[in-house]
């Protein structure tokens, strides 16, 4: 089958439940526009729905222990965004983010996602601070703050759509997404999702540490693959402005 017409990221601006979640219109396309569009942005305070990328508030690096960043925003254009209501830097919510694909394509191999320093998709240099070319401090992580895993953690729910075409979604009442991770969480290789369950939390460190779908979803079936994230910072992170990318890999015929 041909490629998908649409694979996007959607974010929840409503409540942490099946009935209370708001996804309509909350879609980011892949590929930054170069002017601040289609960005996920993290903040601790000082951000608003109209804050452009160039004046996005700094996050103060903690002086002692790593901490989770508590706000996530999604910007469809440079100065037009929304707060992801169910992101708070913990695993307390299930309805946060989801990959969305339409019914025009057919996956021919395993779906996988992670994060890289930039679009060259160079392998992160685990634990290296300051980062080198085509790496960044976030995905490299720190030997002290993150045990050489990424500062960005991710978890995914089930298969999205299973091989029989059934949509797999978190518990309708929401709640915890798996067991609470820490800044040190991460496993070399892939964490593979299992049926109708939250995955183990994983570090998003290129293809060194990433999440893979446990099945190949049914052909020509639209679906949502739910996931969530936590971004940490720590006293040993080299300060700068970082622009990592989140990468989704798939195959089709």
């Amino acid at each position: 089958m041909s490629d998908f017409t649409s694979i996007t990221l959607q974010y929840n601006t409503g409540a942490d439940s099946a009935s209370g979640a708001t996804w309509t219109g909350n879609t980011l396309q892949f590929g930054g526009s170069g002017n601040g569009a289609n960005e996920l942005r993290w903040a601790m305070s000082g951000a608003s729905t109209t804050t452009p990328s160039a004046t996005w508030p700094y996050i103060t690096r903690p002086s002692s222990a790593p901490l989770a960043i508590t706000q996530l925003w999604a910007f469809s254009s440079d100065a037009s965004g929304q707060k992801v209501a169910t992101y708070d830097g913990t695993n307390s919510h299930s309805w946060v983010l989801r990959w969305s694909w339409d019914n025009t394509g057919t996956f021919a191999g395993t779906l996988q996602f992670s994060a890289f320093g930039d679009n060259t998709h160079s392998t992160p240099q685990a634990g290296t601070q300051p980062p080198v070319a085509h790496n960044d401090a976030i995905t490299n992580g720190s030997s002290t703050d993150t045990s050489n895993t990424s500062y960005l953690k991710i978890a995914a729910y089930g298969y999205g759509v299973d091989s029989s075409g059934n949509q797999q979604s978190p518990t309708s009442s929401g709640g915890a997404a798996g067991s609470s991770p820490s800044s040190f969480t991460g496993t070399n290789g892939a964490i593979t999702t299992t049926s109708s369950a939250w995955s183990t939390w994983q570090s998003a460190q290129g293809w060194l540490q990433y999440i893979a779908n446990g099945v190949i979803p049914q052909a020509t079936t639209a679906g949502f693959w739910y996931w969530t994230a936590i971004l940490y910072t720590g006293p040993n992170m080299t300060t700068s402005t970082y622009t990592p990318v989140i990468t989704f890999q798939y195959a089709y015929s």
Partner: protein, 179 residues
Amino acid sequence: MSSGTLVRSVYGTPLVIPEAVSYWAVKLQSGKWCTERDIVVDTKHPMGQRPFDWTLDLVGTGDIRRIVELWILCPQTRFSPAGSTGRLLIEERGTPFQLKFKTTSGLSSSRVISAQRESQIVGRIDDKVTGRCTCFIYDHEWQVLSTPWVTNIYDFGSWRESIAPLRDLSSEVLGFDLS
């Protein structure tokens, strides 16, 4: 059939492949050639026609079991001014496959506009028991066609560092038959 003859049959000129992307071609037992550049009538399609499709038109019709040659034809690049081709002879039914691969990035404060890359893979299962297979890969980012590369359909590997192993491949979609 030589690559020059095949390309001539498609474009009327030898060897030079005037396409921006790679594509596959197969020879059936009947001697008929089918390629991804063919157009087929499809009344279910909004346009009434669509490109010839691996899953719909080879797997769906059973012609997948009548393939005797599988080719990949690759565009002109600075590394290969005349384009390049790879050919796999298919001696056992149910062993050829073809797929494309994509990584798509963004969703962060990226300043890079282009975010999509593709590669195309044609392959042949050499050992139905173990899943060992031989493939040609055209890497669109690097603009090169690989030499024959051995991996496994149950744990499809990675051919370079910025690509994750593809792992499982779908027999339903790709049409290979291990029975």
